[in-house]
Symmetry: C2
Subunit: 606 residues, 2 copies
């Protein structure tokens, strides 16, 4: 068999493997539809994808035999034939560079920024301190177990303290995917949702940085795997440097705006997609954390860049990332299922597995309960015990834990970790994920909360009171200077900057921004500076002015965030475009064929 | 340096390489925008992408030195570290399985079906006979050159007759990308457009099948590279089998409809995407031609499945494939530019190159001129000499030629072919692609043809006359039986099938289809059966009825094809949903903020 035919054979195999995955995804989508259709909620789509993956893994493992002659020829032609096994061993690079970015970016792009920032202190505490606590608790417990196993003679290879810490770091990353989906569908209390989601998104980043700090700390000699106070400090320094570097990078690229391409939505969408992806890659190439960078890039883009996009591109980008996120997520989870049988060097050690489950449970408890207690000392809006129990329960492990553990499976310790991690992911996604709905009703946490209720004036006023002064300063700065500088919305800089900066302001303000300036400009700025009527900012509709001078009330496209259910824009009076000059009010309906309800208003008193 | 750090280093490098590509694409998009903005047309975006690729290739080749120690460690850790070179050598599998399908699918999905089918006979002649002629002419000329070079001693390795034929097959594939873009923008005569586009899409498929037939024909002994009549017949058999197999597979998967998912556009779009991709993979895995399968899958889906999608999914799918096509295209062309410097084993043989350019020119001429002469004997609407010259000139070589030649670069002959092919692609894309606009005006071919003029009654009547009887039979069959069976549009089967098939028809008709049945049903079928007023079918607007009973004239969403400029739906009276029950006519504008112009019509006479 010569190499050309070999290459063709290998190509055919590659296609077949890829086809298996695509079929798996197709099957998953069909079943998801069935579940949604029948309102069946005890098994989430990610759990389902894993089950299908498992089944295909069993079939591939026990049903299909690769002829021996094939694998011999592969070696001969290795230079030209592409590796047929590429897709089965599933290069972790593909995982990190291709599948992960859209998921994380989508999380940032669709983040409900208002609830997130209202709880930012608690979220950061759980994500940073909590993950570090969890990592060390798990690491110490595992070290105890491993030492015991060594004494008993149950350990078949080396397992150092740094390995235990590494394990602690990777299993401390909770997964936003499943929680997000379930909580979003059930409309759970928004604060609980924000806490869990914010924590799980950020602790992915923390876990990555922690685990690579542990690896970086590992001494070159390979024989002194002990732990020193100096090294801890060094790791902490690395941690801070990497995190802040990634954060700045993400914000910097997110802020970069392109406002000249509005006439070509295809180019605009393409550019948006590429810039988001390159943020991730740039961070990784610089040795920083792509996940952190792309997360903050997404948040920044939703806040600034989104406002500069054409309407068409706004729809396109949100739909594109929604789809990419959906496909990547299901791909990852079916792949996890597949790995259980297709991975060749599993090491299942019952004692280690029991220890790991115990450690994960205790590590999560050591994160949630003590920190909640401390946070409640400072919070006006306390985190109740039922919330804490749900947070404890909903600490699912998912894509990130898997990705970190499959990245290196060379040593005995790493193989054992990988096998154990896989079991932890399966258990938490199926049992904890499936049990979330019963758990919520058992804890008597209200579901079906209409987030519109959240917008009542009383609620809003309390939000305002809750917000600390740094937040208020930031908000004013953002509204008066950053938004006008980076987007076309908001008052022109010429109005907000002091008179001495006049020329600079004129040069930095886009022509569109001046359209906001007009006879009503004073009203507009009064509106912003007057904190008393802040409650009116949270009305659910946006009044904007179009070229024909008619006022349009548009509850859907509030121009605030890329997703329908994101009500963050209401924080921002600038988005209301309150210049009232029009004569008609049009309320567009969902059905595009339905003629819009047209209401004629009297002209405003000027 | 241990393996974990090695893996991290390699990951960083991978990210950097991918980043370079993304940056390249970003740069290309920005420049494209600049070109579009300034209406500069002499260099097309694909040519531009190649230039940027070339520049980066030069930088990578001469600017960056990989430290020797790195490459040594790579070998040690090869088991765990992912190959850092993967992205630079650019696995052809990625090309075939990931980048090519969206381009070809998009071509099928956005095909202007009416013009395509009006010229189907000529297109098939050029694509099938023409490509075979071109392949053999090029093969023979190259064999002459190679034999001469062997005598002169200019040849550094083996070069058999089958290699020449293989070369002929791969350089006979003309590229639809550039032609499509230029002609679409300039609004060139629709028939010329259809001929060129149809030919270039189909001959990609023909070239793939031809080249693999040549390889399959190659005797196992490797020493008898002669050519026999028997083998030609065998190749022809393989060719027919593979082509028809791929065609059936594509149509079969394209026809598969999913009508229950309309409530979940995300799932629907995901499923649509996956099914289209799996068509490609399934065909490849079965040893057939994915390109042919996915092309006809796209055409079939645009014709049937598209009508079953929800409005939201219709928009999403067309935008998604437009974007994927755009990105994949630019990625491929920048990669081509990059390869000129990054590929390590180029063999540039001046004599071979001169011979190849000559052969490509003569091969194209032997395709176009004789076949046009023969076709003109049968065509009422002759293909003029100026059209023939443009077709000759616009035979650009692009993505497919490149993909086929990079697939195997093991032998001396293949390396020489690859290098030469690269030069041919560069030359045709830059010189022929850039010269298309001047060429058109030199040949006095009208540009800026408003395709609405094509819809005048006289034109339409001539179309009807031109259409051969097989087409008319197919059209009636499609309209009366296939469309009702596979989509929700058209008359219900209960109306079109003979009475004896009543129960079967009732069981196969979807509930929505019955909505078309009503008091006006007789008018509707009269309309279809009465050929005399066929011209009125080509009006540019679609009158549809929504639930509220108002008539909506919608020139944009005619429900006929996924793209705005596709006017194929006018062939199909069923799509007009002529049930006239409403009272109001709403003409939606492009600007969603603009209140729609509302025109109140008198109620129709029932």
């Amino acid at each position: 068999m010569d190499c050309i035919r070999m290459a063709e054979e290998s190509h055919r195999q590659d296609s077949a493997y890829l086809l298996i995955f695509i079929m798996l995804l197709t099957l998953t989508i069909l079943t998801i539809w069935l579940f949604k259709h029948r309102r069946f909620r005890f098994l989430h789509e990610t759990g389902l994808a894993m089950i299908y993956g498992l089944l295909v893994g069993v079939i591939l493992r026990f049903g299909i035999h690769v002829p021996q002659s094939m694998s011999d020829t592969v070696l001969e032609c290795a230079v030209n034939a592409s590796p047929a096994t590429l897709l089965v061993t599933f290069d972790p690079e593909v995982f990190f560079n291709i599948l992960l970015p859209p998921i994380i970016f989508h999380a940032g792009y669709s983040l409900k920024r208002r609830h997130f920032f209202r709880n930012i202190g608690s979220i950061l505490t759980y994500a940073f301190m909590g993950t570090v606590i969890s990592c060390f608790v798990i690491g110490l417990i595992m070290y105890g177990f491993v030492s015991f196993m060594k004494v008993v003679g149950q350990l078949g290879g080396d397992f150092f303290f740094t390995d235990c810490l590494f394990f602690g770091a990777i299993v401390s990353a909770t997964d936003p995917v499943t929680v997000l989906a379930i909580f979003n569908e059930l409309k759970v209390d928004v604060d609980l949702y924000a806490l869990l989601f914010g924590e799980s998104v950020l602790n992915d980043a923390v876990a990555i940085v922690l685990s690579s700090s542990v690896v970086a700390y590992q001494p070159a000699g390979d024989n002194s795997h002990s732990f020193e106070a100096m090294a801890v400090l060094k790791s902490f320094g690395i941690f801070l440097g990497v995190f802040s570097g990634s954060f700045s990078l993400g914000v910097a690229t997110g802020v970069m705006t392109f406002t000249k391409l509005r006439d070509f939505p295809l180019l605009e969408t393409g550019l948006f997609f590429l810039m988001s992806w390159s943020t991730f890659l740039l961070a990784e190439a610089c040795g920083m954390t792509g996940v952190v960078a792309v997360l903050f890039c997404g948040i920044t883009q939703a806040h600034y860049t989104y406002n500069n996009l054409s309407r068409d591109s706004q729809d396109r980008t949100k739909q594109l990332f929604e789809l990419l996120n959906f496909l990547a997520e299901n791909f990852i989870f079916s792949y996890m299922g597949l790995t259980l049988f297709s991975f060749q060097s599993h090491v299942f050690n019952p004692m280690f597995i029991i220890g790991a489950f115990l450690a994960v449970f205790l590590g999560r408890a050591a994160n949630i309960y003590p920190l909640s207690f401390l946070l409640n000392l400072g919070r006006k809006n306390k985190i109740g015990m039922n919330f804490q129990h749900v947070m404890m329960f909903a600490g699912l492990r998912g894509a990130m834990t898997f990705a970190l553990s499959i990245r290196d499976t060379a040593t005995y310790a790493r193989q054992m970790m990988f096998s154990t991690t896989l079991l932890i992911v399966f258990f938490t996604v199926w049992i904890c994920g499936g049990g979330t709905t019963p758990m919520l009703s058992f804890m008597s946490i209200p579901v079906g909360v209409d987030s519109d209720q959240e917008h009542s004036p009383e609620n809003m006023r309390s939000t305002k009171h809750e917000s600390a002064w740094p937040f208020r300063i930031w908000y004013n700065f953002d509204h008066n200077y950053l938004k006008p500088l980076l987007t076309h919305s908001g008052p022109p800089l010429t109005a907000t900057l002091p008179a001495c900066c006049g020329p600079l302001a004129r040069c930095l303000t886009s022509p569109q921004a001046y359209e906001n300036e007009g006879p009503l400009h004073d009203d507009d700025s009064d509106f912003i500076l007057n904190d008393a009527n802040v409650s009116s900012l949270y009305a659910d509709v946006t009044v904007s002015t179009d070229a024909s001078g008619s006022r349009t009330m548009n509850p859907k496209h509030s121009g605030a965030g890329p997703f329908k259910d994101s009500r963050d824009g209401e924080l921002d009076p600038a988005e209301r475009d309150v210049a009232i000059r029009g004569t008609r009010l049009v309320l567009p309906m969902d059905d595009p064929l339905e003629p819009p309800t047209t209401v004629t208003l009297p002209p405003p008193i000027l």
